[in-house]
């Protein structure tokens, strides 16, 4: 299986593999093999180098740092698992983890259905679809920092449009301190998370729905199916793969969230909106408690890793069942 005149197209998913085999002359075998190694190396090495320096090595180094007490400047003191023991007893860490889970829930239970509703609207017989579609997508084009700042003003208790609306409707004592009330702040930011990412799921669902053959709906209409039945019996089953991959994207993405919370509340008031990301950032770059921050950072990696493995496993099971 060698020689530079031979290539194989190999499918990673294991389907549709095709191979072209041109037998190599035996005298060329050795040189051909080394040539191939050299070619492959020179193509992959530049990317691999950058990836190892800025992704792989830092993760390993984060794991090592997490066993030390260290301020980033002076010498490091090995303290074994103390950072992790401290972490498990740290109520802020648990609040942060809980808030990360809330982001996941908001993404999966609100954002994805909203994206689906938007896609359905864009595919319904409605006038001005183009305008609706264009505007619905706007939020996804704004940088997260800009979104955070804009919504900070929209939530402003005195001059913000949201409380103004509440005043106009006439419920004076419903003036809400959106971002400074610890019970409400996290939901206020979650609203913005939904606002920002729903359009992304909208385009995924729209693409999936457009691909459904029209005949299926026509046949269902002939059988007297209602729109509701058509949605649940035809649309939903056929876009199931998109729903699954959206949920995966939402879960993995939620674990990484940082910008909006950092900009809008900075994790406050009193850690009520802390995320693993904001807590790690503060431990590292505000308190210069690098060892402890590394243990938070590595926990984030572990959570992401476990989630990915579980998802891959479920996907594997699902595919084996032929679902």
């Amino acid at each position: 299986m060698s020689g530079n005149t031979q290539q194989a197209v190999q499918s990673v998913t294991g389907t549709g593999a095709q191979m072209t085999v041109v037998p190599a002359r035996s005298s060329e075998y050795r040189t051909g093999r080394w040539r191939k190694v050299a070619v492959i190396t020179s193509f992959i090495l530049p990317a691999l180098f950058v990836y190892v320096v800025y992704v792989m090595y830092p993760i390993v180094d984060t794991l090592i740092d997490s066993f030390f007490a260290w301020d980033g400047q002076s010498t490091m003191t090995f303290i074994g698992f103390k950072n992790y023991v401290h972490l498990l007893r740290d109520s802020i860490f648990w609040t942060a983890l809980k808030n990360n889970v809330l982001v996941i829930l908001a993404s999966v239970c609100v954002q994805i259905p909203l994206g689906m509703v938007m896609a359905l609207i864009l595919l319904s017989p409605i006038r001005g679809r183009r305008i609706f579609g264009t505007v619905y997508f706007f939020p996804f084009l704004m940088s997260t920092v800009a979104i955070g700042l804009l919504w900070t003003y929209i939530f402003d208790p005195l001059n913000g449009p949201l409380n103004h609306l509440i005043r106009t409707v006439g419920i004076q004592n419903w003036q809400i301190q959106w971002l400074s009330d610890p019970r409400i702040a996290v939901y206020a930011v979650l609203l913005v998370v939904v606002w920002q990412y729903a359009p992304f799921y909208m385009i995924l669902f729209k693409a999936a729905m457009v691909a459904i053959p029209e005949e299926l709906y026509e046949a269902a209409s002939l059988d007297g199916a209602t729109a509701w039945q058509k949605f649940w019996r035809i649309t939903v089953p056929l876009i199931m793969p998109t729903i699954v991959s959206s949920a995966i994207l939402a879960i993995v993405g939620s674990l990484k969230s940082f910008d909006l919370f950092y900009i809008m509340t900075g994790g406050g008031p009193d850690h009520a909106t802390e995320l693993l990301g904001t807590y790690m950032y503060k431990a590292a770059f505000v308190d210069f408690n690098m060892g402890y921050a590394s243990s938070i950072a590595f926990s984030m990696f572990l959570v992401a890793f476990i989630v990915t493995v579980v998802i891959q496993y479920l996907e594997f099971v699902r595919q084996r069942r032929g679902g």
Binding site: V50, G72, F132, Y153, Y281, A297
Partner: protein
């Protein structure tokens, strides 16, 4: 009658979502045209008078610098990502060797990684390299974290390029690099544009690496600069809204000009995978 009610409900929902997604932009734009006085008198009026002084003053306060920095860093990083990812994707998608699948998985697993897990070592490394607080400090992390999705998209696409073309070229004596440069790369056009758009927008908006690796205002990118603006001029709401508008306009403009491409680019690998 039922049909009419359904229609009204449909339009009502569509309009409500239009307000939900669009109003914040309208508010941002309308406020950016007001003087501070007008803002405090009528914070919610729309476009009573159009006043561009906020824009010029925001530019004078350093926004142009952030803008230039963002352009430089985005173009440099995207160019490097496309080059490195395309090079790596060629053998990963079209050659058979033992480490192929492990290497591919190593690269694409980066998509699920939280950036935070690399933040401290990257900060220390940047300091050691003497790059701290310099714009080029961002190139390494930006390129590295863009590689996974780029390689994912490009390998999927390159796999589909027919073998016949490559074989013909090889019989004519074309080298491996020649095959890559003259056949595989030109034929990957659509995937390359997806990769360019996706990475450009994400790097344009990137915040946390800039926050950790850049300190002085003259080296800040737009997202970082906006945050600094907010810290200093949070009372000047119209000025800040002008800055936000200016930071958003380039991406919106690209989107309005080529909607299909941008949507496809932003959906990235997700539309296929």
């Amino acid at each position: 009658m039922v049909a009419l009610i359904k229609r009204v409900l449909l339009y009502g929902l569509a309009a409500a979502l239009l307000v939900f997604t669009g109003y914040p932009f309208l508010y941002m734009l309308a406020t950016s045209f007001k003087t501070q006085q007008q803002f405090f008198q009528s914070p919610f009026s729309l476009f009573t008078s159009i006043n561009l002084t906020n824009y010029s003053s925001v530019f004078q306060m350093g926004l142009s610098r952030y803008f230039v920095n963002s352009v430089i860093i985005s173009f440099t990083s995207v160019f490097l990502v496309v080059l490195l990812a395309a090079l790596a994707s060629y053998p990963l998608s079209r050659m058979k060797f033992r480490l192929n699948k492990p290497l591919f998985l190593l690269f694409v697993s980066g998509m699920m990684l939280p950036v935070h897990a690399t933040l401290i070592p990257t900060f220390i490394l940047t300091n050691h390299l003497g790059l701290y607080d310099r714009l080029i400090a961002l190139v390494g992390p930006y390129v590295a974290f863009s590689l996974p999705i780029s390689i994912f998209i490009l390998t999927q696409f390159m796999k589909e390029i027919p073998d016949a073309l490559e074989e013909a070229a090889r019989i004519d004596g074309t080298t491996d690099f020649g095959v890559f440069w003259r056949i595989v790369l030109p034929m990957s056009g659509p995937a390359l544009s997806t990769v360019v758009i996706y990475n450009f927008i994400h790097i344009w908006m990137e915040f946390i690496f800039a926050l950790v690796l850049i300190n002085s205002p003259e080296n800040m990118t737009l997202p970082l600069g906006l945050q600094k603006f907010y810290g200093e001029f949070s009372v000047n709401v119209p000025g800040l809204m002008a800055a936000l508008t200016l930071a958003t306009v380039p991406v919106l403009a690209v989107y309005l000009v080529s909607q299909e491409k941008v949507i496809k680019g932003l959906a990235g690998g997700a539309l296929k995978g």
